[in-house]
Point group: C2
Chain length 314, copies 2
């Protein structure tokens, strides 16, 4: 009978690690730097060493450990094979097999955004749901989809890459992915800033946004103070994200939509701008999906990674 | 060890039934009328009786039957509970439990379009894929999504209802679902006819379509004969469907897209109009998905229904 599980969230600068009991209680968390040199070949050995140290330190019996779950930024298929993770210097290889050999414990691996969605389902804002869409509004827009309690991985590990669904035919600027009119261009922190900057240039009306730095945070702060121009920006953001989510819901029929990432710190006001657009266009079978804010913050990844292991072990 | 399985496809006017061996060979198929009177309460007893008769006729031992799979037009959740099927007169009840009691065999149930997708994956155009999107272009647009070999059911059984994703903000006519700008309004047989009729009224250029009835069939027949106006209609159809599929693929990352339904009888030309739009806007992780035509026709439903049972039994 397993008592512990490790959850690992591999980011471009730091690796977050968590030791959980199998009920999902986070017993301890810590970080190590992500050493991306040498094509990222040091990353998994560093993780394995850190886990070994924790096992020794805590005097945990190996047979009490269910395994190690890992999330990483890149497409990772259902076998745990990563198909290039640019930020880490990784090409194509099996994270699962490589880390299993290093740590001598069962390993599961998945895309970081998908894994975060699983974490929010398990212990965060999405608790009680088995069919959930999580959208992470940060520098970019990430996504993770859970259907019937499991991560939707997709054929090549690119399931839930909803930041790059096409939402606007008339966009002239290119997205980082090379396409034009991706959801990320409007709903990310960067996208909101872009919408606000555009609106400020087009209009001559007064706005709190003219007084300092323009960012997703200052836009929503201004919205809360009743700033008309900021509200127009929020409306535009809400339309793109709400319409986009309505399409996603038409595909996967979730009962819960979790908004996370830095932008979601704006709070419930975000939902106020997104939900009306969602409800206007969504198929009636998904109209009553509840909108919630993510609650695990940067820990969603380690929670979800741990859960990946328990889904298989359990 | 099971040797046989029944697949049942419940339509508004007829119920199709198939007897398969567990390798998926269709041994015999037949139909019975769908008696929708009395709130559809006769339908499942009729099916049970027909299966009993077939078991007797073929002198099949009950223990050799893995079970009965059933597809029906309406949202059916992962427990086999239908949430209203208007065409059959059904409200909310468990198809699975009800039919299990009647037929005394294990039963699985799913939405007809989802089940057809499973059929095409198993024995049709999608063979070899585990991550597949099937779009059925008939009077309406239906859809079924398979991820990691299993039907994507969704929270309320409305997974894969892709006919009603929102693809056009400027549409003024309403879709049957009540919304405006649904994919079905452009990509169904009815939708193609509507696009053609509109185009004929707006333009004064010559066209084969001015010579007789306008339908999806006559549009694509005219396309094959190089009719310029028909080609404009096909282009518009291709844009809406290709863009829509690109979004769906951004969500579920399929390796295969199956086009089925009456409109797909137009053949490969359909793919020629859809695929360029798909590839233009889709996230790169799904750009190489193959496009294929459905091959099972009206039998997809009974194949998929049989497979539903084997997925659980196997």
């Amino acid at each position: 009978m397993s008592r512990y599980v490790f959850g690992v969230d591999i980011g471009g600068t730091t690796v977050k690690l968590g030791l959980f009991n199998v009920e999902g209680e986070l017993l301890e968390k810590w970080e190590i730097p992500t050493r991306t040199q040498e094509n990222g070949s040091l990353i998994l050995p560093d993780i394995a060493r850190s886990i070994e140290e924790k096992i020794s330190e805590k005097q945990i019996a190996r047979e009490d450990v269910a395994g190690v779950g890992a999330g990483a930024p890149g497409p990772i298929d259902s076998e745990g094979v990563v198909h290039k993770a640019v930020n880490l210097g990784w090409d194509v290889f099996s994270i699962r097999k490589t880390l299993e050999e290093l740590v001598n414990l069962p390993v599961m691996a998945g895309n970081d955004a998908n894994v975060a969605a699983l974490g929010e389902m398990w212990k965060g804002g999405g608790q009680g749901s088995k069919d959930l869409v999580m959208v992470t509004l940060g520098t970019g827009v990430g996504g993770g989809i859970i259907t019937n309690g499991r991560v939707l991985t997709g054929a090549g590990g690119a399931g839930g890459e909803i930041g790059h669904i096409h939402v606007n035919d008339s966009e002239e600027e290119s997205c980082n992915c090379g396409n034009k009119g991706c959801l990320e261009q409007y709903a990310s922190a960067t996208g909101i800033t872009r919408l606000a900057t555009r609106k400020l240039a087009e209009s001559s009306s007064e706005s709190l946004l003219r007084q300092g730095e323009v960012s997703a945070k200052t836009v929503f702060d201004a919205v809360k103070r009743g700033d008309a121009l900021a509200m127009e920006v929020a409306e535009e953001f809400g339309k793109y994200l709400g319409d986009g989510l309505s399409v996603i819901a038409g595909v996967v029929n979730p009962d819960t939509i979790v908004l996370g990432g830095g932008v979601s710190k704006a709070g419930e006001v975000l939902i106020d701008y997104v939900k009306p657009h969602y409800q206007k266009n969504v198929f009636h079978g998904s109209r009553d999906a509840r909108f919630v804010l993510a609650t695990l913050g940067n820990d969603a990844g380690i929670y979800g990674a741990a859960r990946l292991v328990l889904d298989v072990a359990g």
